[in-house]
Symmetry: C2
Subunit: 608 residues, 2 copies
């Protein structure tokens, strides 16, 4: 297995019982002769500083986790190729840097593209300790400190994590503790009803009491549990709406049970009508989260965190920032990203996410949020992430959550350099390929912010009308003249949820950036974009270019000498990606050509 920690000769220590012991063990494993001191000051928590004294002694100071992060920093910095000189100190921007695993108790991973669960099998916790210590090292080395191990869709019998499985959970928490990683659990809002309580109403004392007792019990086994994560009233999950309560009632219920133990309650804001009638144009799905939550700003307890997807839909290739992230100034917020490539190529197609995240923070003031979360791309594949390049997203997520002002280029080049021993020119070529991969994917899939022209259910491959007459609220309404939904004041007025400067930016088709055009506007095919091309010609061009770029990616990759087993995996997957890009190119071009009747100006082949 090749990853950014290839400098380690062996497994992380199974004996280290604290972050300090782990830091010591990890440093000595890579540098057996290193002279160093660790100075812990718990108040510093995750922060660390490193200095090098005369006699080449390395002094690492920091909080309990900080010294371990310092140790990993020292190791990675040594192999980075662009070594940062000491003294150096660092603090994370966000105290919680979370990974959400969508793992089911049966071992399946929902939207998982790198094998089965690392934590579960056969309906219970069931894992390889050595494997998980490697995972602990991977996560900790990039500063990830919270791991939610089970799916937000809590299917039977995952509820038992709060009950019968607590002794097993205690052991798992102990395994990750020396890595500075605290566990979190997804919980089922209706769980009290499994215990002879006839309701899960958050205002019902019996329910409040059940959650309090449950939290007390859980914390007896796992005293440093980070908290609970909840998906409620969403895509069939139970929630407060069943009892005529709002989501502050629901979140505060659980938060109060966690409060005495210092736990946080993370409440996902992915709430929308997933039984929409496509005929009903009065509903526009992107408006849902803001409508459900913005009026509740200030109603949430101080240990509640609302976890908000970066865009108003669902992890599409091109979405504007969710307006809810700009509209909750009196509430703790977490930004939710998705490392799992659900809509972005299933870890078959190469898709590097840092450019997307950078765009998010161009609109999102970094201190609007207090925490980061990402849906995991992990599984029990040998390399943890399916495609070896998918690891760059995990690596990047960690670094970016620590310091969102890092550039995608810096992160990507660092990952390449740490992962592969390649000539300088190949490092540059590979980093450039990775950095451009998202734009390439966007070109051959979703044109100009249109989204959702994807195969239903699997979410891989093109199906331009797959969701067009479905219940999910994801329509493009392409007809023979025009395409897209008008989300300005003359249409659904989704735009009104934004601050004024963004309303100005997106509201007028002529000022709206081309890549967001069809997210906000319904436009005729002959609409002239800012670069002078017509909308339809731009669709054709992007799709032809996207495929061509994948062909060039294949050439580039075939000329780089990757080690095995990565070389084989990369070779096989780029062939699949090329077939996928070709299918997207032809299906989307044909779809719009049949509708518009407008030929490609360059006369390239569009199938009838």
């Amino acid at each position: 297995m090749n990853n950014w920690l290839g400098m380690f000769p062996g497994s992380p220590s199974a004996e280290a019982a604290s972050t300090e012991e782990m830091a010591r063990s990890e440093l000595l494993q890579v540098f057996p002769d290193l002279k160093f001191n660790l100075h812990i000051n718990p108040v510093l928590t995750d922060s660390f500083s490193i200095e090098e004294t005369e006699g080449n002694i390395i002094n690492i100071s920091g909080g309990n986790s900080g010294i371990l992060y310092g140790a990993y920093f020292h190791i990675l910095n040594h192999f980075s190729g662009t070594k940062i000189s000491y003294p150096y100190s660092s603090s994370p921007m966000y105290p919680l840097r979370m990974i959400n695993c969508w793992d089911n108790a049966d071992g399946e991973v929902e939207r998982g593209y790198s094998g089965r669960s690392l934590f579960f099998d056969g309906g219970r916790l069931n894992y390889d300790c050595d494997r998980l210590r490697h995972l602990g090292r991977l996560l900790s080395s990039v500063g990830i400190n919270v791991l939610c191990i089970n799916n937000v869709n809590v299917h039977d019998p995952a509820q038992l994590l709060l009950e019968d499985y607590l002794p097993d959970l205690e052991k798992l928490a102990a395994l990750f503790r020396p890595f500075g990683i605290r566990l979190m659990l997804s919980v089922d809002f209706s769980q009290p009803m499994r215990h002879s309580i006839p309701t899960a109403d958050p205002l019902e004392p019996a329910v409040q009491n059940w959650w309090k007792e449950t939290a007390d019990r859980v914390y007896r086994y796992v005293p440093d549990l980070a908290g609970f994560l909840v998906k409620a009233d969403s895509e069939g999950r139970p929630g407060p709406f069943s009892y005529g309560r709002n989501h502050a009632d629901g979140a505060n219920l659980l938060a109060r049970a966690l409060k005495p133990h210092g736990g946080v309650l993370v409440w996902r804001c992915f709430v929308y009508n997933c039984r929409q009638d496509w005929r009903d144009t009065s509903v526009d799905r992107p408006k849902a989260a803001y409508e459900h939550y913005s009026w509740l700003d200030g109603s949430f307890d101080d240990n509640v965190i609302l976890q908000i997807k970066h865009g108003p839909f669902d992890f599409q290739v091109r979405e504007p920032l969710s307006p809810l992230l700009l509209g909750m100034s009196s509430t703790n917020l977490a930004l939710e990203l998705q490392l799992a490539q659900e809509y972005t190529g299933h870890q078959i197609d190469i898709y590097t996410m840092m450019p997307l995240w950078k765009e998010i923070f161009e609109e999102l003031p970094a201190n609007n949020i207090m925490s980061m979360a990402a849906v995991s791309n992990l599984g029990n594949d040998e390399n943890f992430t399916g495609h070896p390049f998918a690891a760059v997203n995990l690596f990047g997520y960690g670094l970016f959550s620590w310091n969102p002002s890092l550039s995608p280029e810096t992160i990507t080049r660092l990952w390449v350099r740490l992962t592969y021993s390649l000539p300088e020119t190949d490092i540059t070529r590979l980093a450039e390929l990775l950095l451009s991969s998202r734009r390439t994917y966007e070109k051959y899939t979703a044109p100009l912010g249109l989204n959702w022209m994807v195969t239903p259910h699997t979410h891989y491959g093109p199906n331009p009308s797959g969701y067009e007459y479905d219940l999910w609220g994801t329509y493009h309404k392409a007809d023979r003249c025009a395409v897209g939904i008008d989300r300005t004041v003359s249409g659904t007025n989704y735009l009104s949820q934004y601050p004024e400067h963004l309303q100005r930016k997106y509201g007028d088709p002529s000022s709206c950036p081309d890549l967001y055009k069809l997210f906000f506007h319904r436009l005729p095919y002959d609409y002239i974009l800012s670069d002078g091309r017509t909308l339809i010609q731009r669709i054709y061009d992007d799709h032809f270019e996207g495929y061509q770029e994948v062909c060039l990616m294949e050439e580039t990759l075939s000329s780089i000498d990757f080690p095995e087993p990565d070389a084989s995996v990369i070779r096989k997957r780029i062939v699949l990606q090329k077939a996928n890009a070709r299918e997207w190119r032809d299906v989307i071009n044909t779809f719009f050509h049949r509708l518009s009747g407008i030929p490609d100006k360059q006369g390239r082949k569009i199938y009838d």
Copy 2:
């Protein structure tokens, strides 16, 4: 349970060991005081005659099965309301009247809409004897005499029917034998390879020998087995093509193993490229069966029967007759129908098939075929067929296979009268509703022979482009100007597979019946149909009318006093059908409106 045999007070005899004993028992169960004689002449096989002597003695003469059919005829005739007077004699048009069950060993029924398997559960034969005797009575009462119990897609461990499960199969055959019903088995062409034979090549002596020994063994347990049924080289099933052999080689291999035992080998002709590239216009799926088989006419052994679906696609609502049924004069043919409502409403929507079958025989000379087969609509639902009205298709299939000159009206009225005790006006209204139900379904689903605008996989509900860019060869290529595939000489030339009179009938858009227009021709939306309407207006009209007709059906049904449990089932399902019809209406109309931009002349609501 209400069905056409409601006059029976109890279960069929578990003691009757022969058709004669069964005939006697069944007659006495309905008419305890009946005086009758049974005269068997085995040469007469299925034929029977009935006369009534002085003293009201009923004499039934016939072959072994014939006397049982005579007995059932006498019973049904008595309750028919339009009693046929004696003497009366009858012979079936076709000696084999087969039902193909698509039941898997695990108890699932592929494309089954009336519950789980009646024969299998948990990987083996597992059934309720009393239930199966009721089934035997149902089938035998309408002359069905061959029952293929397992799916043509032979999934593990159904192969064991030829091996470990033979003792159980022997018992099942004994159960059905007194009903004149012989079992048939679907077999896996590659089964020899499960027995250390490295190939399934039909010209390989070891393979021939394995099949011979296998047939010998099977017939030791079931001496009257009707034979084997095979789906080969189709949708992933193994077949002769793997070994560079043709389908005569494959069919004759098995036929020769069956020959000494008097068994037939039924070989399905559902062979086509199911991995087609939608871009490749040189391939046209309806041409496949004729291309694969017609040149082999005369190469099949005399105990081979080629089983050919009625249309060249796959049980769509509107297909022309398969040209293969007209092009194999030196080969034994079976016509394959589908009672399971795969594409025709899942036994939720009402869909009576006799009008379709009548149309088939308008083009198909009755003696072109020597046998009838139908995919089963049976399952372990209380009423066997899910919707109580789906029973009319089973009933009708039996009568129609006996005598294809019977009119749909006669069959339908007889079924209604036998099934429900209703006032004469309601009998007429229900029969009319059933007889018009297929046309209604056609109106709100597939316009003018277009087909396949259906939700992939489930095949219920609309999805106009669901298969448009897929691998299945089922495209409509609708664009802003026109829709359909030109299958004439100027297009794919599928038409050339037909005899001249049908080429003339279908070849010219002006003479081609409107309902087949889009099967054979690509036409612009403003094309004028034979009734003076434009193509697009006709699409709109049909879809609005189809929904309206379902609303009227609901009214009619609510005014008829059905007995329970049928009343509840009928009431629930018509609501679902109405929702389905509405969805089809709006999705198809919107789809074509977006493409064509042409408004409805009557100004009815078409959603944007």
